[in-house]
Symmetry: C2
Subunit: 195 residues, 2 copies
DNA sequence: TATTTTTCTTAAGCTAGTTCATCGCTTTGA
DNA sequence: TCAAAGCGATGAACTAGCTTAAGAAAAATA
């Protein structure tokens, strides 16, 4: 049996739920073990689940016309992810969601989430807060993409998520920060030399 | 008296409200006339309002360390905007929201919106759907920023919003698309020559 | 443990996009 | 109605970041 307390605390930080509703919510999520390199979501298939990472690491990415991979989002312990467009609108995904390590997730399927939202005020509020916070977070990311240079984006990421950086493959981080792996390699190396 | 039917239809496309709730919602929004160049939101002040554009055009932008202006969002008739982070978290704004034309807006203040969401199921659902759709939209924009070249981003924008392009100052569109005004000018000109 | 595959580094040459500067054309405001 | 300011076009010089290529290091797999 997995320890769900990180999940419970994550939820508690967003909204205060009654014990009954916390139990209802928790029951709607299923624990799933995922092997490294396993795909949770693939282009062409509708994203069926909203995913919370209990243990491990994931990234979501798209592959463009030229065959280049672009990481859209990372998630490690206590983070959420999905192909947000596909999940919310229940349309075919455009992104891959892939495990970077052997991982354990909690997932809720779209129907179950709808049912909770349709029948339970506190849980509907929780999901509203999650959507609002997601939108606010994405808005901040757009601003930083529009205003910062490649090096500044890297510095910001390292400052914000110092422990995460080391767990991510550099090529994935590079594409997340909208630069080539080679250029990221150069930035890191220039930094070392300056010291 | 302004004609609010575009607003009503905008809402109806998102959620089916009872006539009473539509009346409640509409009553929470105030009609405000805004002059060209007027600022609705400024850095340092908490964004008090969520804004719907009934008539006119706006853009939101930030000014970076080097003094450069970056347009984050546009809004013309039937679009919504605010400094989303500031509004949702009620923290000081980082963005300007400025009228590009003499405009008429509907605005709801944060307290009023909270009160509606706290007391009314249908309206709480409406705002949840809005947040989900906003997040989905922002996620799409991040993908297109990560995967497309400057010219492709311009083409996409023109294809999506052909009528809007002509009303926007070119320098604002250029910074929205993450390029200089000069480069946008070049792209447009290359296009004309090819024909 | 050896072998294969994937990831990271380095460096040279290149290009998409920027910067700077100049010139008309419009708007704006006194 | 005239001056001032703002906007878009153009071009030359520049640079941040990309491409290509090849080797070194690390990780996965047998």
């Amino acid at each position: 049996m997995e320890d769900l307390s990180p999940f419970v605390e994550n939820i508690n930080r967003k909204a205060r739920l009654s014990p009954e509703n916390m139990a209802l919510l928790t029951a709607a999520f299923k624990v799933v073990k995922v092997k490294r390199k396993q795909l949770l979501i693939q282009p062409g298939f509708v994203a069926k689940y909203r995913i919370y990472v209990l243990k491990g690491a994931f990234h979501s990415y798209v592959i463009d016309d030229k065959g280049n991979e672009h990481t859209i989002q990372f998630a490690v312990e206590d983070w959420w992810l999905s192909d947000y467009n596909s999940y919310i609108h229940q349309t075919p995904a455009t992104q891959f969601v892939e495990a970077l390590e052997n991982s354990i997730i909690l997932q809720v399927d779209y129907q179950a989430e709808q049912q909770l939202k349709d029948t339970n005020w506190e849980l509907a509020t929780l999901f509203r807060l999650m959507a609002e916070q997601t939108a606010a977070y994405l808005a901040r990311r757009i601003v930083s993409n529009l205003t910062q240079s490649a090096e500044e984006r890297y510095n910001e990421f390292v400052a914000k998520y110092p422990q995460v950086v080391q767990r991510l493959p550099q090529y994935a981080l590079a594409s997340y920060l909208n630069m080539t792996r080679e250029f990221l390699s150069k930035i890191r190396n220039d930094k070392v030399r300056k010291k």
